[in-house]
């Protein structure tokens, strides 16, 4: 069993037009930027992207949106100042946008990964984000019904990996990555370093290799050190 792939380009070579792709990351930490840049080089169309933010400037997800590759973005906070590519296309009606409370966004992804059919959350009750959604009173409190959210591919970013796809993270790299790794048909991990099987301690592995299909080691892009 060897899940290593030599380059990001090879790791994303089989993604078709119209694919649904999750991308981990909250700000630069844990964002699989090199995989996304490789995806841009594929020149695909009609992608559905699931990412917490809206992309930054003309790089990675921002660039993918700028290129016109994205049909729809499912997101939570796509309104940071750097997300001008999304803003421009959205205001021109060229991209569809679904916005979810951040806890609902991640819990829907977890539900898909955990094989659940849906769940009730108190978040969003009585707001415009719950419009059209089923509300149910449970033990006297209203909850909104939410469905699982899955994808064809997940791009995730971790710190270290082995060839079985076991992953560790450092600092705030985890964010959505361990959850998205559970919820896509094909999970591709961009990592800082690949080590031998057995080198990661069983307790420190945060994403077990069972969730991961491909691993590719990359150099950190200098742009990732910039403030978002």
């Amino acid at each position: 069993m060897d899940k290593c792939v030599p380059t990001c380009d090879e790791a994303v070579a089989d993604i078709p037009n119209g694919a649904t792709i999750m991308m981990g990351g909250f700000g630069p930490p844990g964002f699989p930027a090199q995989l996304v840049e490789a995806l841009r080089r594929r020149r695909l169309r009609d992608l559905v992207i699931i990412q917490c933010g809206g992309g930054t400037e003309d790089y990675a997800l921002g660039g993918l949106i700028l290129d016109g590759a994205v049909r729809k973005l499912i997101s939570s906070y796509p309104t940071h100042p750097g997300a001008w590519a999304l803003r421009d296309r959205y205001l021109r009606g060229e991209i569809e946008l679904e916005v979810l409370p951040q806890g609902t966004f991640v819990e829907r992804i977890r539900a898909a990964g955990a094989g659940l059919g849906g769940f009730y959350t108190p978040t969003g009750v009585g707001t415009e984000l719950a419009e059209g959604k089923e509300v149910r009173i449970i033990n006297g409190r209203p909850y909104v019904f939410e469905l699982p959210l899955s994808a064809d591919f997940a791009f995730i970013k971790a710190h270290r990996a082995d060839r079985w796809g076991n992953l560790t993270y450092r600092r705030t790299m985890r964010n959505f990555n361990p959850i998205m790794a559970m919820a896509a048909k094909v999970v591709i991990a961009e990592v800082d370093e690949i080590v031998a099987v057995g080198e990661l301690s069983p307790e420190e592995i945060e994403t077990p290799g069972i969730f991961v299909d491909r691993v590719v080691a990359t150099e950190r892009h200098p742009r990732l050190l910039r403030r978002t």
Binding site: F26, Y77, T79, L100, Q102, E107, H159, F176
Partner: protein, 230 residues
């Protein structure tokens, strides 16, 4: 005279007991930590998976893998812990945070909160605002009492899109501390030199006065400039 933004933050800091776990929104809430009395262990939560956020990283000392929910490169305090987004929002929604201190566009007399979207905002984006408003044990609002155009932010009913109904427990402004009690707003404190009448005049809903009303205990250095009569 009304408090500075730092004055509001100072006032809130005094009300956070040892052992608090707090999420601090952007703006005034982010100033709270620096005014915490010595010896109190208060852990700051960040949506992206931190308990125990420390000060911002010094220039050149940024760890590229460590930001807070605001996107700032930060540090970790000793005793900090890190986790994924699912656990981070289980902490929020599950009622584990003792306090969420949030900015607001409007708060209604029954504690409805609007803080995520102004009407006519063309690109929506909510982040963790609704989860925090619904989940924290105590939702406290920190804001200036009126808008830049002098309009009251404390209103009969919110006209901006709601973040969550009936969630705000207490409002800290540059003029007053106000407790939300059912459908009542109880004026607990006024800024030094500000009268209850002056507070009521720039509040869009009736304030209830009680015998416990007192002046906000803030030191001179965080007091602001005299109130312009609205």
């Amino acid at each position: 005279m009304p408090l500075t933004r730092e004055g509001i933050a100072y006032r809130i800091a005094q009300d956070l007991p040892d052992g608090s776990y707090v999420n601090l929104g952007v703006g005034i809430p982010s100033l709270v930590l620096q005014f915490l009395p010595e010896g109190r262990d208060v852990l700051v939560h960040s949506e992206n998976g931190i308990l125990g956020v420390g000060p911002k990283a010094a220039a050149g000392q940024e760890d590229p893998d460590l930001v807070n929910a605001n996107g700032d490169y930060v540090t970790l305090l000793p005793g900090a812990s890190l986790f994924d987004h699912a656990l981070s929002f289980a902490i929020i929604r599950g009622g584990h945070l003792t306090h969420a201190i949030l900015g607001a566009l409007q708060v209604s007399r029954r504690g409805d909160l609007s803080n995520w979207k102004v009407p006519g905002q063309r690109v929506p984006g909510v982040g963790g605002a609704m989860d925090l408003a619904v989940g924290a044990q105590r939702v406290w609002v920190a804001m200036t009492h009126v808008t830049e155009r002098g309009e009251p932010k404390i209103v009969e009913a919110c006209t901006y899109p709601l973040t969550a109904p009936r969630c705000v427990k207490r409002i800290y402004t540059d003029l007053a501390v106000i407790r939300v009690e059912g459908e009542d707003l109880v004026l607990e404190e006024v800024a030094p030199g500000v009268s209850p009448q002056e507070v009521q005049a720039c509040t869009g809903a009736p304030l209830r006065l009680t015998a416990d009303l007192r002046e906000m205990p803030v030191p001179a250095e965080v007091r602001g400039v005299p109130l312009r009569t609205p």
